[in-house]
Symmetry: C2
Subunit: 280 residues, 2 copies
């Protein structure tokens, strides 16, 4: 239930780890990250607590609720046409200012932070047999898989992504990084281009047992289920693991299964729109 995590998603774990690992000079100059959402919120909160300046580069399309939350933590926020422009500008700004560039997934400390979710699963339920975890850039999934396999190599880790943005599913299928066609997804936090040199790829390739896909409709249905059965608000990127548990219920029957629910940051009007779709 990382939807109940501070800042509303698991991303704070990695961000806190990154900030705690900075040396004195790096702390003084600060960190910079291109992100539309949860990564920026995690970093803004971690920087606020540690007194480290945080600069977030984000697309105009970013959720205003997330933007104002970042600003309330004192982060400096700069807008760009789209996330790719924000990314290139953030890299350039980091080179110029000496600020530490923090990728949401292509960063060992981010991955290790996400991995603490896996450690906690094993602490609480050592008998868990299948762990379902959402995958976008692979930071959470590779961290969780690394932690789980280190403790119990027989436990399976399944990483779940949207059909609309199936990068790791295609790479895993091919056994190598190949070009992947991407479409827009309601789960914006786990969608978009992943660079083939991302350090998460070999970890996902070697430590995640299966990468599975769910549809946009299945993601909305999982959001409705989380509301109806459990009374929890979730965002689309936070529930693919739940959607997969429903799709693969027959395969999972009788197996001790964990779903990692990873976020709840979504504006009220967008939430209602998506979940209403699932009801009809």
């Amino acid at each position: 239930m990382e939807n109940l995590q501070h800042t509303g998603s698991f991303k704070l774990r990695g961000a806190a780890n990154v900030v705690a690992s900075l040396d004195a000079d790096q702390r003084r100059i600060g960190v910079i990250a291109p992100t539309a959402g949860n990564h920026g919120l995690g970093l803004a909160c971690a920087g606020h607590v540690a007194g480290v300046p945080v600069s977030i580069y984000l697309p105009h399309s970013a959720d205003p609720m997330k933007v104002s939350a970042m600003e309330s933590y004192g982060a400096q926020v700069t807008f760009f046409e789209n996330i790719e422009e924000a990314r290139l500008a953030a890299i350039a700004a980091a080179q110029q200012s000496g600020a530490t560039f923090v990728s949401a997934y292509n960063n060992a400390q981010m991955i290790a932070g996400g991995g603490t979710v896996g450690l906690e699963i094993m602490e609480e339920w050592a008998e868990a047999e299948v762990i379902l975890v959402n995958i976008g850039g692979g930071g959470l999934a590779s961290g969780v898989a690394t932690a789980i396999k280190a403790i119990n190599p027989h436990a399976e880790v399944w990483a779940i992504q949207s059909e609309a943005s199936p990068t790791f599913a295609r790479w895993k299928e091919a056994g190598e990084t190949v070009p992947v066609a991407l479409s827009p997804s309601i789960a914006e936090g786990i969608s978009g281009y992943i660079e083939p040199e991302a350090m998460t790829w070999p970890l996902i390739r070697d430590r995640v047992d299966r990468v599975l896909l769910v549809s946009e409709a299945e993601i909305k249905a999982a959001m409705f289920l989380m509301l109806d059965l459990h009374g929890h608000v979730t965002e689309p990127s936070g529930v693919p693991a739940v959607a997969a548990a429903l799709r693969y219920a027959k395969t999972l029957r009788g197996r001790k299964t964990v779903c990692v629910v990873s976020g709840r940051n979504i504006s009220g009007s967008r939430y209602l729109k998506l979940v209403n779709d699932a009801l009809i």
Copy 2:
């Protein structure tokens, strides 16, 4: 945030206290309660944990999600035409079987259980100046007021109810129990007839500073705010305190204010219906 409490509402606190206070004979025979909702869930859970039989008498209109949750805790569930019939039948059954009848509010252990919310508020934020708490039968409000006033007599406790069911507001105004006209409310958990001899009345009269009313529309707006700003599912009976904080924002400005949010048990379809109303 008692919406995040086990069983989805604060009611488990009092129910656990009741069950823990039973003697050996009472534990063996079990408890019985008339309730459509959260009280039944709290009691079912507390009884399940302690191995005490629980019998719930409820109206046909009860939320199926709550009913199946009670059954999953092993409670025996019996249906009646309406809550008043359920109440009378439960009293008769208790007399016949020797089972302990447990009112949701007219019971010192229930009140004391709810009071632990007040103790925790003072532990976490001793400087709190105004505490807003929802009131139905008055179990939570009288418990919270008793705890708060014992620790800091200068802190104010405001109890909030729906305009549609303003029993304590009218009694407080009159300084005595008077007949009160009741209408149906979306906040069914804090609505309906309160017997003038309820032990909560003198506590509310002497220890609660103000009893205030909010409209049905304000309750829906507070549910939307809890979704939009905080990413939390709430039920109508759980948010009048939040609705009042909005209505009396000017009066509360600059005062350290606490709202007790008290429950999240509502079916997904009903939740969407109510919150969609607030959006339009």
